[in-house]
Amino acid sequence: MTGLIFLIPIALFMGLIGLVAFIWAQKSGQFEDMEGAAYRILEDDDDKPL
């Protein structure tokens, strides 16, 4: 049972990381254009040669 003392906080912490990542993604507009994003990964000419 003593294992719970650190296992529960670890579990909660990992869940929290996921939640923070989700809120960040949402705030930074990652879900604004779900359709366009699917096509954008197929485009390969946005890196201009230096």
Partner: protein, 742 residues
């Protein structure tokens, strides 16, 4: 590169998913008034129509990025909005021209538009959903160990588990449940109830009871149920909000109409480009050839032909001269005209039609959604059952604590998770299907109304017919047509355009002059030639055989060129399909009697009315409603807008006037009328699935309520029952994506 891009054969979506805009420049003013400048950077937001796929995306973005000084060009494919930022003095008109040259429709968006409220609401719901999801998963982790360890786990360990659960649940419920609490409070303070009342009551009661039980070291706590309940409900709420915002995005096309700019002639006689809504009555407005009037005005100078088909439904252009009134929506076909504005842009789209729209919307809001009807039975029933359970157990002598606990578990287990998901999930799946079929649904309840329609009223021009005259080539020598086309290429008149469309690109006649209301004159291969009305070439005719042009060259006898407005190719099939589905139909058109009669006869429609005013259309619909018919109105003109908003359900083609699009429940794009049948079938299937879902939810309650009332609903049972019912309802809705048996 840009030459390849601007190749006309390449216009519009390269995969053919959307129609290329035939006349992208029509009605498009200078976007300059909508540019926002800060720190040497100019920004402009545009609404792009017709972009459907990845190729469209890169085609449009590349075309804009190659313009000098452009630092950012990003098109949002989901809502068709594009953000452009640039340095230096690139005229914004070049940006819109670059996009419209590719065959896409483009209009500037007003930076001060207020669509952000809906977006904020959706974001709030999504964040709340994420938080509730996180909490539900973590509390479930703890709850499962409590349930699994029943009998073995020590009381102090269980208490700690409950306390941790509570520590997560309390802030999360307060945060994620705000939407429900606020809405419940709003309706309660007005003495009414909605679905949010039992939700709030169940969640808060369960939370309170669980805190109390935890404090007393009790065996059961409902923290997991509270949070899971909110999580499921928020999924439904979020889907609903997203659907509504999509509809809102459609309405922002209407805002784009308001965002059009106008050329105003100021006191010193100079032309300046201003926003349409800055125009006040008395302003002098210049309308260039091809431009669409944005405000009602009286012509002061210039004579020109106007295409008023979107205003009145009349397909033949009319001649306007000083003193005449030009209504917003009319397109100038000949020379530029000057006029004095007689109304503000907001009042201009014919105040009459605006009032009709409002009246229609009010009528329509009296329609009660299936979900609302379900809730009105559900809310009192659940509360009565919970109260009776409490009193019953109290009388049975189990003590207040136990009685409250059981009543509370009844409330939780009957909480309308499945009910709240039943409608939105079905609507989202159905509207997604329709979206892929090129039908854009404006609201979720539109599906229910479309499914209930039993009588279809068609507008003629632009709906049953293509709305564009097409040349009848039979009986005319090809070289005569080629010569006539040389003259026609110099004109914007719809008949000239139809002639050019039939003949394709080629040389243009020299020294062409256009005489409003008469026709064109110019030199074709060195010979003087005329193209225009019978009067213009000196022919006397009394036969009215639809729209015609006369062409004469040198001393040759004049030739008559006839035009027909063709039916949509699949019109007959669609009408047969409607009949098969048990719907009756009729034509109500603003066009002339001969034109309507010919269409009706050709398509075998026995019931038709011609030369109907916008008000007349509304009256016709009122009469049909009085007969008890549920009318599906299909129309595209401004003159249909009132009728569209009044009808039980309505659809408009993608090429329709913005006002008509926003007045209707669904907008269909692409060629033909086939989308109407698809929409009817999809909506009927969606309605039956929705009803099934409500049936399943009722069945669930029929089983769950006795268990809860009898006091057997432990948190474990509640968790399984709630998620199972939500899953079943969702899976049933997804069944729509499985093709129906042929």
């Amino acid at each position: 590169m840009s030459d390849i891009l601007t190749d006309l054969a390449d216009a519009g979506c390269p995969q053919g998913l959307g129609p290329a805009e035939a006349s992208p420049k029509t009605g498009l003013g200078d976007p300059a008034p909508f540019v926002v400048r800060s720190k040497g950077l100019s920004r402009l937001e545009l609404s792009v129509r017709g972009a459907k796929c990845g190729a469209c995306l890169s085609k449009i973005e590349k075309a804009v990025k190659v313009l000098p000084g452009v630092t950012e060009a990003r098109l949002n494919l989901s809502n068709g909005q594009m953000r452009v930022a640039w340095e230096g003095d690139l005229p914004p008109a070049h940006i819109t021209a670059a996009i419209s040259d590719l065959g896409y429709g483009v209009a500037p968006l007003d930076p001060e538009r207020d669509e952000d409220e809906a977006r904020r609401e959706e974001r709030r719901l999504l964040t709340a959903m994420g938080v509730a999801g996180f909490a539900a998963a973590n509390i479930m982790l703890l709850s499962v160990s409590v349930w699994a360890g029943a009998g073995e786990m020590g009381e102090s360990t269980r208490a700690i588990m409950h306390m941790i659960s509570g520590a997560i649940a309390i802030p999360v419920v307060l945060f994620a449940g705000r939407t429900f609490f606020a809405s419940a409070w709003r309706v309660l303070s007005r003495g009414r109830a909605n679905m949010d009342v039992p939700i709030s009551l169940a969640v808060l009661l369960a939370l309170g009871v669980s805190v109390w039980e935890t404090a007393l070291g009790g065996e059961h706590a409902y923290f997991d149920a509270c949070v899971m309940l909110l999580f499921f409900l928020l999924i439904g709420r979020f889907l609903d909000a997203r659907l509504r915002r999509r509809a809102h995005a459609a309405a922002s096309d209407l805002a784009a109409l308001q965002a059009r700019s106008v050329t105003r002639i100021n006191v010193s006689g100079q032309a300046e480009s201003v926003r349409a809504r800055e125009v006040i009555p008395g302003d002098m407005i210049l309308l260039s050839p091809g431009e669409r009037a944005v405000v009602d005005m009286d012509v002061v100078e210039g004579t020109s032909e106007l295409d008023e088909s979107l205003v009145s439904g009349e397909s033949t252009p009319i001649l306007t001269s000083p003193g005449a009134r030009v209504y917003a929506g009319a397109v100038v076909l000949g020379q530029a005209i000057k006029g004095r504005a007689v109304a503000m842009a907001a009042d201009s789209l014919m105040a009459d039609i605006g009032r009709m729209l409002e009246a229609g919307e009010q009528r329509r809001s009296t329609y009660r959604k299936i979900a609302e009807r379900a809730v009105s039975i559900y809310v009192p029933a659940v509360h009565t059952i919970a109260l009776l359970t409490f009193i019953g157990w109290l009388l049975a002598g189990v003590g207040v604590r136990e009685a409250i606990f059981i009543a509370c578990s009844t409330l939780i287990i009957t909480c309308p998770c499945a009910l709240a998901l039943a409608a939105p999930v079905t609507q989202v799946v159905a509207s997604g299907r329709l979206f892929r079929a090129g039908v854009f649904l404006k609201s979720g309840d539109a599906l229910e109304r479309l499914a209930g329609a039993d009588h279809v009223v068609f507008d003629k021009t632009g709906t049953l017919t293509l709305g564009e005259p097409q040349l009848v080539k039979e009986g005319v020598a090809p070289e005569t047509l080629a010569a006539a086309a040389q003259l026609a290429r110099a004109s914007r008149h719809p008949l000239s355009r139809a002639l050019v469309a039939a003949e394709g690109a080629g040389p243009v006649a020299r020294n062409v002059t256009e005489h409003a209301g008469l026709g064109l004159e110019g030199e074709v291969d060195g010979v003087r030639a005329r193209l225009g009305s019978a009067e213009w070439v000196g022919v006397e005719t009394t036969v009215n055989d639809g729209p015609t042009l006369w062409f004469s060259r040198g001393d040759e006898a004049p030739t008559q060129l006839r035009f027909r407005d063709h039916f949509q190719e699949d019109a007959a099939d669609v009408l047969a399909g409607l009949k098969q589905r048990g719907l009756s139909f009729e034509i109500v058109s603003g066009d002339t009697e001969t034109a309507v009669a010919r269409t009706a006869e050709a398509l075998g429609i026995s019931q038709w009315t011609a030369e109907v005013s916008p008000k007349g259309k509304v009256e016709r619909l009122e009469a049909l409603r009085a007969e008890g018919k549920k009318v599906l109105m299909i129309g595209d003109g401004l003159n249909d807008a009132g009728a569209l908003s009044l009808a039980h359900a309505s659809m408009a083609p993608g090429g329709a006037m913005d006002v008509s699009q926003s007045a209707s429940d669904a907008v269909y794009s692409g060629k033909g009328l086939g989308a109407i049948l698809t929409t009817l079938d999809t909506s009927r299937r969606a309605r039956s699935i929705m009803l099934q879902n409500f049936g399943l939810a009722a069945l669930y309650n029929l089983i769950a309520v006795p268990i809860a009332v009898a006091g057997f609903a432990s948190p474990l049972v509640a968790a399984i029952a709630m998620s199972a019912s939500s899953l079943i309802v969702t899976l049933n809705a997804l069944r729509q994506n499985v093709p129906a048996k042929a």
